[in-house]
């Protein structure tokens, strides 16, 4: 894997000298910001300065308060205490409209898109071009196309957002901000869902924007990226700033120290534990979409006990369908799914789960949680028919509560308690809860879809460690991830999925993220194929 110190490839532009303090007022100056939520102090007395024309990274573990701070800056809520200055002028934002007017734009950690509207409608919303009263879709679409070409952010403006993959949605979000000509960009974990090529593209764009004098606040848990793009780094921890760092000087492990006070985790497996006992056996699995077009074609693969099968692929190449097919969420039109020698093709999702499939979904809000439910109710989800959650047809509430507490402790879920609703947890902590849940009731197969997406380094380490232990204990794992280092580091076998087909498998020991990236995008590199 790439050494942390190396600057990532394709990085010709030298960041211009950062204009600090001297004369020019900082683009953003947050002073003594405190924000409380019921049961949580998300930000307490945070001071945060961003010089104009720089990329300023904000890092911190899950729940540290990064998003909250940015939402405050973007006017989505008022701080309980503290003041905001933009370009030296003190401001109070009553709504994002004010922030937008002040030249601030934000790309949110969770997509803020209307599925049932077209891309261009989503982008122009709030600052629509009109002739008379009529929406001027033409000029909107043209402007979007122009933006797309000039920044390499290509997406068809006339498509419905609901038909877009995560990568495309991310691009739409960024175009949204650019469309408003924002001078200060807030990007909350924009790279969490992108493959290396896309990340490089994005960084290219960001540098371009920076060179045009824009200011960028960049949030990420991927420290290499942070050091590659940032001119300055601010670390916050448990709601307060612990200090700033110079990306040139600081190393990943030092950053990690500041964030969590622990070593930087590295995704890697110890010696192979692969057995010859086949746990999951896919034979010619084919899935067609509503219009009868195949989205998954003749997938044949096997995962053995103690083996981690990594699947690399650009978002929307059939990963979701593959997962759904194995989980029995959507019917397969041909092929066979066998779990530990038993044909489960005809079984319901529930039966398959009972047969020992654990499932970490890619979209925790959509498939992983009941946001309105308490943590312990979420613990029951997916295990509603099994102990400790159930006694026959009756729920075992105390059992569920007890086991939830165990998960919260073992997986270090930061929460005021197990009676709080899931939606008051930060993204990372929600993820830890899900991982804990899916690992319990010792499954034989774990489907892990982006298990560490948006999860801080501390949690990553924990999650990886749990995966390793389970693997040693003979768990078979299907690992899907956009984080290629994780994929390479954590897989015993690697295959690439491309347009619904498995396109060759690779040796994790030999392949590099870049090569994998090429393969994922349809390029050919037979030489590393094992």
């Amino acid at each position: 894997m790439a050494h942390p110190a190396d600057p990532p490839p394709g990085d010709p532009v030298e960041p211009p000298p950062v204009t600090r303090g001297a004369g020019a007022p900082p683009a953003v100056q947050l002073t003594g910001i405190t924000k409380r939520f019921p049961g949580v102090v998300a930000n307490s007395d945070i001071t945060f300065t961003v010089a104009r024309g720089t990329v300023h990274a904000l890092v911190g573990e899950n729940g540290a308060g990064k998003s909250t701070l940015m939402k405050t800056l973007y006017g989505m809520h008022r701080p309980d205490e503290g003041s905001i200055e933009v370009d030296g002028r003190p401001v109070t934002f009553h709504s994002p409209a004010d922030a937008i007017a002040a030249g601030i734009g934000m790309v949110h950690q969770h997509f803020m898109l209307a599925d049932n509207l077209t891309v261009w409608e989503n982008i122009v919303l709030g600052s629509e071009p009109v002739n008379g009263v009529r929406l001027d879709s033409r000029s909107a679409i043209d402007k979007i196309r122009a933006l797309g070409t000039s920044y390499g952010l290509t997406v068809d403006p006339e498509r419905l957002v609901e038909s877009l993959g995560v990568g495309e949605r991310q691009r739409v979000e960024i175009i949204k901000v650019l469309y408003r000509g924002a001078k200060i960009l807030i990007l909350d974990e924009p790279t969490a869902v992108l493959v290396p090529q896309e990340v490089d593209e994005l960084f290219g764009n960001l540098r371009e924007l920076k060179s045009e004098g824009l200011t960028i606040i960049f949030i990420s848990h991927k420290l290499d990226e942070v050091r590659a793009i940032a001119d300055e780094i601010t670390v916050i921890r448990r709601g307060t700033t612990v200090g700033t760092a110079d990306p040139k000087a600081v190393t990943n492990s030092q950053l990690a120290e500041m964030m969590v006070g622990s070593e930087l985790p590295v995704p890697e497996l110890r010696d192979s534990t692969v057995t010859d006992r086949v746990v999951l056996d896919l034979a010619g699995v084919t899935v067609v979409d509503g219009d009868g077009r195949p989205v998954l074609t003749d997938i044949t693969a096997a995962i053995h006990a103690g083996e981690v099968l990594g699947i690399a692929g650009v978002e929307g190449n059939g990963q979701a369908e593959l997962v759904d097919a194995i989980m029995g969420i959507r019917p397969i039109s041909a092929g066979r799914v066998e779990l530990a020698g038993v044909d489960v093709t005809k079984l319901s999702t529930l039966r398959r789960r009972e047969a020992g499939i654990g499932f970490i979904p890619e979209d925790r809000h959509r498939q992983g949680l009941i946001l309105e439910g308490t943590l312990w109710e979420n613990r029951i989800l997916g295990h509603q028919t099994r102990p400790p959650s159930a006694r026959g047809f009756r729920l075992n509430r105390s059992g569920a509560r007890k086991d939830t507490q165990r998960i919260v402790d073992e997986y270090d879920v930061r929460t005021p308690g197990i009676e709080v609703k899931a939606n008051s947890l930060s993204g990372g902590n929600q993820q830890k809860l899900i991982v804990g849940r899916e690992m319990s009731g010792d499954p034989v197969l774990l489907i892990a879809s982006h298990p560490t997406r948006g999860v801080d380094v501390g949690a990553q380490a924990a999650i990886w460690e749990h995966l390793r232990r389970a693997r040693e204990a003979g768990l078979a794992v299907l690992l899907i991830s956009a984080d290629l280092e994780e994929l390479i580091g954590m897989s015993d076998t690697l295959t690439v999925i491309l347009r619904g087909k498995l396109a060759g498998s690779y040796d994790p020991a030999a392949v590099t993220p870049e090569q994998l990236g090429i393969a994922m995008t349809g390029g050919d590199l037979g030489q590393v194929a094992s």
């Binding site: 409380r36 939520f37 019921p38 049961g39 949580v40 102090v41 307490s44 729940g63 309980d80 448990r238 709601g239 989980m327 969420i329 319901s348 999702t349 529930l350 039966r351 398959r352 789960r353 009972e354 499932f359 979904p361 959509r366 498939q367 992983g368 949680l369 009941i370 946001l371 309105e372 439910g373 109710e377 029951i380 989800l381 997916g382 295990h383 509603q384 028919t385 159930a390 047809f393 009756r394 729920l395 509430r397 930061r414 929460t415 005021p416 308690g417």
Partner: protein, 373 residues
């Protein structure tokens, strides 16, 4: 938060609601030129009469059943507007069935059970049409149940005719009245000409069952989960279609019981043109007022029927009867608004609490831990 404050917050909403409703009603009364004091005197006076209290409880029994039927749907975002048609059709067919000659041979207990079972079956079947259409064809149950209500009306009108399932009696048509032993005895209440309906126990049982199923069983959990996030429910192995069908059938079955107190405890022991109509819609209001909570609905049902029963007395005090319905509507608004206000106040309190513990937090440096206490 201290326990005492918890308690006050808990009762604040209902109390506030009553106060708001009281104020608004008083205003309406004043505006409409009727004397509030007389009105409230009449209202209060009414419940000095044991008979009216008993009637209130009896009607509440019916209303509660209707509310539970609706609430089951609400718990998973199913809007069963069709309770009205379901209970009318069920009551009519069950009445005809129970009035059948063959019944008189059977032991009383069996007759009652058969009648109840028939009613539940009919209600479930009628709701089942909507369930089937939704599960297999994705037809919105809002539409199908609206349509089914009208169709039920026509069907009843067709069947409730001499020569079909009914007999004529003066200007009335009614199903063959149930004979002795086919209906239930009532409970005498001293000082009251009306008797207490014995099926109140059935209603309590239904309420208890509703609470137990929802909060204590896997099935209930699955229903709630589906209601809160369909996609997550599917991913965790809950078959939404099966949930839709079973919830709808259950709702229909309970709806089938709605007409039973009037049929088996009432005076006529038959389904006639005078059989109370529209209770299904009352049930919707009561379920909402009681926030689908088994205990909450007990209170809302009592409140609603109390207002209904006081209608006569209020008219006695010169208050036009439509003011009663206005009051009921206002009550509905008042309660939900009061709840919202309390909810917001509670948030503020919690935040204050966090703020207070902030100092402590600084020392340990972990707000989360502090907040956890």
């Amino acid at each position: 938060m201290t326990n005492s404050r918890r308690f006050w917050l808990a009762v604040a909403a209902p109390l506030g609601a009553l106060v708001v409703a009281f104020i608004v009603t008083t205003l309406v009364l004043l505006l409409t030129g009727s004397n509030p004091f007389d009105a409230y005197a009449a209202l209060g006076g009414a419940f000095k009469t044991p008979r009216i209290v008993v009637n209130t409880v009896n009607t509440a029994t019916t209303y509660y059943l209707a509310a539970v039927a609706v609430a089951i749907g609400f718990k998973m975002n199913l809007f069963n507007i069709g309770v009205d048609g379901q209970y009318r059709l069920a009551a009519m067919l069950a009445a005809a069935f129970a009035g059948g000659a063959f019944m008189s041979g059977l032991p009383s207990v069996l007759r009652i059970i058969l009648t109840l079972a028939a009613a539940m079956a009919v209600g479930a079947a009628w709701a089942g049409i909507a369930a089937f259409l939704k599960a297999t064809r994705g037809v919105s149950e809002v539409i199908s149940t609206i349509m089914l209500n009208a169709i039920a009306t026509a069907l009843i009108a067709y069947l409730l005719a001499p020569g079909r399932l009914a007999i004529a009696q003066g200007n009335n048509v009614l199903t063959q009245p149930i004979t002795e032993g086919g209906y239930l005895p009532n409970i005498d209440i001293p000082g009251s000409s009306s008797q207490l309906y014995t099926l109140i126990f059935l209603a309590a049982l239904v309420g208890l069952g509703y609470w137990w199923v929802l909060n204590r069983t896997v099935f209930g959990f699955s229903i709630k989960a589906t209601g809160l996030s369909e996609t997550s429910a599917v991913a965790s192995g809950i078959s939404v279609k099966r949930m839709v069908v079973s919830a709808m059938l259950l709702s229909g079955a309970i709806a089938g019981l709605v007409g039973m107190p009037e049929l088996l405890n009432g005076d006529t022991h038959a389904y006639s043109l005078n059989f109370p109509a529209g209770i299904g819609f009352t049930g919707i209001a009561i379920a909402l007022l009681g926030r689908n909570h088994p205990v909450g609905m007990v209170f809302s049902a009592l409140l609603w029927s109390a207002l209904d029963s006081s209608s006569n007395s209020l008219q006695g005090a010169g208050v036009p009867k439509e003011l009663v319905t206005i009051m009921q509507g206002v009550m509905l608004f008042a309660v939900v608004i009061a709840y919202e206000v309390v909810r917001r106040y509670r948030l503020v309190l919690e935040q204050k609490a966090v703020a207070r513990t902030l100092a402590a937090a600084r020392t340990t440096g972990d707000p989360n831990e502090v907040a956890a206490r």
